[in-house]
């Protein structure tokens, strides 16, 4: 089923209004939640299981990706009962390496950025070819970027049709749509882009590429969660959420989990519907979990670099 663009719907997306001051007040309440003892352990493990462990560098090599895959499968040998991460996230060229490293019966999924990541300024036929290549090489999930230039110039139809076309090229792979909120400038734009992406067929909406600051800020994430909630209540269809970029410490991640629990409820508290796009977050989660075992903090050097 492909989605078709409608100008009436676009006007509705664009009419979304967000009051920044009150969003900030709501966020400061969430960030004052105190997460202790049993809850903390439970949420640390949950957050670990939600990570899309990411490497998206020009310098990525097969061995770097193999290292990432090992870490994703077994984050910390000293605590073998910990969950593995949800996925690894790599460039399309490295999907075959990840597929070989994780094996055919893998539990860790392979996500691949596509569509001219991170800027998205390439022709649609190349975006489609890139997506098809990544899926053919074994990607389970595709993280695409929207054309922010088109969005900011008001060409919602182009943004919509590209998402719908990429969704078609994904086949069975789940599609995460990156809004790159740091370039959208206002929360009103984030609200509009979220609605647009969901209508066009996104399985997940994702904040950022990680290449632009600010990335996954709390206000942006709340606005996106509200769009997901609105869609679910109207249609019964769940959409996943992936904050990515700038989430480096456990406390921030746990407060993101509080935000999703208080906005979308229990059904989203699983890596099927919620992911963190992060590279260094895993180690801080591990350090916090090890502290629960030891009663004191280990040096960050106790945990492998990747």
């Amino acid at each position: 089923m492909t989605s078709t663009f409608s100008p009436e719907a676009a006007r509705e997306w664009r009419s979304a209004r967000v009051d920044d001051a009150t969003i900030n007040a709501r966020i400061s309440r969430v960030r004052s939640r105190s997460i202790k003892t049993d809850t903390k352990v439970r949420l640390l493990k949950l957050a670990l299981s939600m990570i899309d462990l990411t490497t998206l560098e020009g310098a990525d090599t097969p061995e770097k990706v193999r290292a990432l895959c090992r870490k994703a499968e077994q984050p910390y040998a000293a605590l073998p009962d910990l969950p593995h991460t949800a996925a690894v996230c790599v460039y399309p060229n490295l999907v075959p390496v990840a597929a070989a490293a994780l094996g055919a019966d893998r539990t860790v999924k392979i996500a691949s950025v596509a569509t001219g990541f991170p800027s998205g300024h390439v022709p649609l036929r190349l975006k489609l070819a890139e997506t098809e290549a990544a899926v053919a090489a074994g990607a389970d999930e595709i993280d695409m970027v929207i054309d922010r230039g088109a969005f900011l110039s008001g060409d919602d139809e182009k943004v919509f049709n590209e998402i719908a076309a990429i969704k078609g090229a994904c086949g069975k792979a789940r599609l995460k749509v990156i809004l790159e909120t740091g370039e959208l400038g206002t929360l009103d734009n984030v609200a509009a882009a979220s609605r647009l992406a969901i209508a066009a067929g996104a399985d997940f909406i994702k904040t950022s590429t990680g290449k632009i600051k600010p990335a996954a800020t709390f206000p942006v994430v709340l606005v996106m969660l509200e769009a997901i909630r609105e869609h679910y209540l109207a249609t019964g269809e769940m959409i996943g959420m992936k904050p990515a970029g700038g989430i480096r410490d456990a406390k921030t991640a746990l407060h993101h989990l509080v935000l999703v629990a208080e906005t979308l409820g229990a059904a989203w508290m699983t890596n099927e519907w919620y992911r963190f796009g992060a590279s260094s977050l895993a180690n801080d989660l591990l350090r916090q979990l090890q502290r629960r075992e030891d009663g004191y903090y280990q040096s960050p050097r106790r945990f492998s670099v990747d």
Partner: protein, 490 residues
């Protein structure tokens, strides 16, 4: 791949996240018995009553009830300080004392927050983040004014009034004390303060702070007791100025009592704040504003937005949004850092609120209460929303002073204004719209002392606070807050 369901989609919000207990652990020592604070010394009293922890019902301490003689001693001490030290002191020197008090409040803020939470029942999240920091801010703000009073009254020659009698309520015990004490002291007055009988403890800790900063004896005197003691303070012939925050009924009694005297007065009384939500508002944020408006401090707020007026075209949907948000609020141990809604301050107030819920039901209201678990001891009431009510209903006209929101609708801005102003009170109101012209038009047409646009319950020491009509007169905060404590200003 996304899931589809046939039933009407519903979010599993209530209980979506169990949080382990996170109690605030800072100790706040409580004595077994309290007297009064007169002439810079703690003095014993008699005729003791008890103050209880509303979250458990347990007795915290015995507190003396001040007699007419005790009040007279306090007024004499205040007069002596006014004539002998404080009235003559330079503004700059008075300012130094106010700065010292403000800093000491900050230094002991955690202890103050815990004590206030134990005695009042309000969540530590609020005492820690609002009551105590805002109290310190008021002292800082008025400290800055102490040596600049002539600039607050251009062309005037400001003088102290003398001795101020101040009676404060139980809903923000420490904050209300600070609102009243700081401007009184900055302007060179001395004070006899009477805390509320259900929440006397934080004022007694303030007295300790006053000793620590070497405030001259008699500048602030604190007499404990109930209504009778308060009446003795207000009616004492040597009191020059009365300041009262509390119910409209008691305000009327005080006004009768002081009629014909030369006492100056300010009254900060009840309210029935309207919270107007237009269809063009940012709805999820307006929901947040409504939550802050009515469930802040268990609704024990004179400026609470207790009447929600929502545009009829979005009323049903808005109510759904509101309920979804309310379901997430956590009610329970006020000392737990994650508690959103604490205990009702007293068994008496809980009775009053329940009486109004019964009246509402009898008059045809749909009463909805959050399904959140409620502790089995102490005085608790889940957040409550009454829909299907009309302007004629008792629960819409009278102040309930609890976590109870009445929901009504309107069709046009004109009707919203008319309904919002259809009350005896006039303290506060809120308006939500993303259209600025509408915000300004409506805000100016509302008959209330304070109107918040796209927000609610936002406080700042520089901003005057006070009501019109049955909500009282006079302002606290800002430059206007000084005027109530100065002579020679007209």
């Amino acid at each position: 791949m996304t899931k589809r369901t046939d039933a009407k989609p519903a979010l599993q919000l209530a209980g979506a996240l169990d949080l382990s207990p996170a109690p605030e652990s800072c100790p706040a020592p409580i004595k077994s018995r309290y007297g009064h604070f007169i002439g810079g010394e703690f003095v014993d009293g008699d005729d003791h009553f008890t103050t209880v922890n509303p979250a458990t019902g347990e007795v915290l301490a015995e507190v003396a009830a001040g007699s007419d003689e005790t009040v007279d001693q306090a007024v004499k001490a205040a007069r002596k300080a006014a004539d002998g030290v404080w009235g003559k002191m330079s503004g700059a020197d008075r300012g130094k004392f106010l700065y010292r008090i403000a800093r000491r409040i900050q230094e002991r803020s955690r202890e103050l927050a815990v004590l206030e939470t134990i005695d009042n029942g309000k969540p530590i999240r609020e005492t820690r983040d609002v009551d105590i920091p805002l109290a310190a801010q008021h002292f800082f703000y008025y400290a800055g004014w102490a040596d600049k009073l002539q600039y607050a009254v251009p062309g005037g020659n400001p003088t102290p009034l003398g001795v101020a009698g101040q009676v404060i309520p139980w809903n923000f015990p420490f904050l209300m004390a600070s609102w009243k004490l700081a401007p009184a002291l900055a302007t060179g007055n001395t004070v006899v303060l009477k805390p509320a009988e259900t929440t006397p403890l934080s004022a007694m800790l303030l007295a300790e702070i006053l000793q620590e900063v070497d405030l001259p004896p008699g500048v602030i005197n604190i007499v404990n007791g109930a209504g009778r003691t308060g009446g003795a303070v207000m009616g004492h012939p040597d009191i020059d100025k009365v300041a009262f925050t509390g119910s409209t009924n008691v305000g009327r009694i005080i006004m009768r009592q002081i009629a014909g005297s030369k006492k100056k007065a300010t009254m900060e009384l009840g309210g029935k704040g309207a919270h107007i939500v237009f269809a063009d508002a940012s709805l999820d944020q307006a929901v947040e504003g409504c939550i802050n408006g009515i469930f802040f401090n268990q609704g024990h707020v004179c400026c609470a937005g207790s009447r929600l007026l929502v545009e009829e075209s979005i009323a049903e949907e808005f109510l759904e949004r509101l309920k979804r948000r309310v379901e997430v609020l956590r009610i329970g141990n006020p000392l737990d850092k994650n508690t959103d809604i604490g205990a009702i301050n007293s068994v008496k107030q809980l009775g009053t609120i329940n009486k109004y819920l019964d009246i509402g039901k009898n008059e045809g209201a749909n009463v909805w209460q959050s399904p959140c678990p409620v502790p089995d001891k102490g005085f608790f009431l889940p957040p409550t929303i009454m829909s299907g009510v009309q302007q004629t209903d008792t629960v819409v006209r009278e102040e309930i002073f609890g976590p109870v929101l009445s929901v009504l609708t309107f069709r046009t801005p004109a009707e919203a204004i008319k309904k919002a102003n259809d009350t005896e009170y006039g303290l506060a109101a809120g308006v939500w719209s993303e259209k600025n012209s509408k915000l300004f038009e409506v805000a100016h047409a509302l008959n209330a002392g304070i109107v918040w646009a796209n927000g609610y319950n936002l406080f700042d020491p520089a901003s005057p606070f006070g009501g019109v009509r049955h909500s009282g007169f006079g302002r606290e905060g800002g430059i206007a807050g000084l005027w109530a404590y100065m002579g020679g200003i007209s």
